[in-house]
Amino acid sequence: DQQVKQNSPSLSVQEGRISILNCDYTNSMFDYFLWYKKYPAEGPTFLISISSIKDKNEDGRFTVFLNKSAKHLSLHIVPSQPGDSAVYFCAASGEGSNSGYALNFGKGTSLLVTP
């Protein structure tokens, strides 16, 4: 039962443009959301997070938006750089979810930023 869904397996964006990665979740108990970035043969690394009490969190070129009513979040990368090319995982956790506070991950979106 997949509670975090990333419906776009891949995305290609030109350098300098905006990359928008989307994520949907089904469990209304989730109240903390994170994005991870993963390069081949490496583990996921933390990128940015947002609590459900906020609807936006910004860190440099990365901004995460949360729409609780739609159970949707998105990651914006502006401007996109070739080094951003990686797989991006959306993750969520919350009290009362299936695995307590364990992070539930989506399947990831592979971002390719072309020069």
Binding site: Q2, A41, G43, Y101
Partner: protein
């Protein structure tokens, strides 16, 4: 000076064998996890330990047994390996059992690619 280190990085073994994957973290975190990334790229929680105590045990075959000798180590032992166990296994740690809320979430190891032939 790796924060979360897993060994081995690659493991190829025959069906029916027993194997172990080791994980160590030097971050002083209280909680450690094992995740499995299957062929569909889905990262799924298997186990979680907080200060050597098992706090999450998802629906995983009992051929999989985690062992935590101390809070810096969480090893995964797998008995009677099957073809379907082939996957990448990630170890992770976080500051406390609440998923690292308010901090940086989890710190992951680089993964162990297990291939059962």
């Amino acid at each position: 000076d790796t924060a979360v280190s897993q060994t081995p990085k690659y493991l190829v073994t025959q069906m029916g064998n027993d194997k172990s994957i080791k994980c160590e973290q030097n971050l002083g975190h209280d909680t450690m996890y094992w995740y499995k990334q299957d062929s569909k790229k889905f990262l799924k929680i298997m186990f979680s330990y907080n200060n050597k105590e098992l706090i999450i045990n998802e629906t995983v075959p009992n051929r999989f047994s985690p062992k935590s000798p101390d809070k810096a180590h969480l090893n995964l032992h797998i008995n009677s390996l099957e073809l379907g166990d082939s996957a990448v296994y990630f170890c992770a740690s976080s500051q406390e059992s609440k998923g690292g809320r308010g901090s940086y979430g989890y710190t992951f190891g680089s993964g162990t690619r297990l291939t059962v032939v």
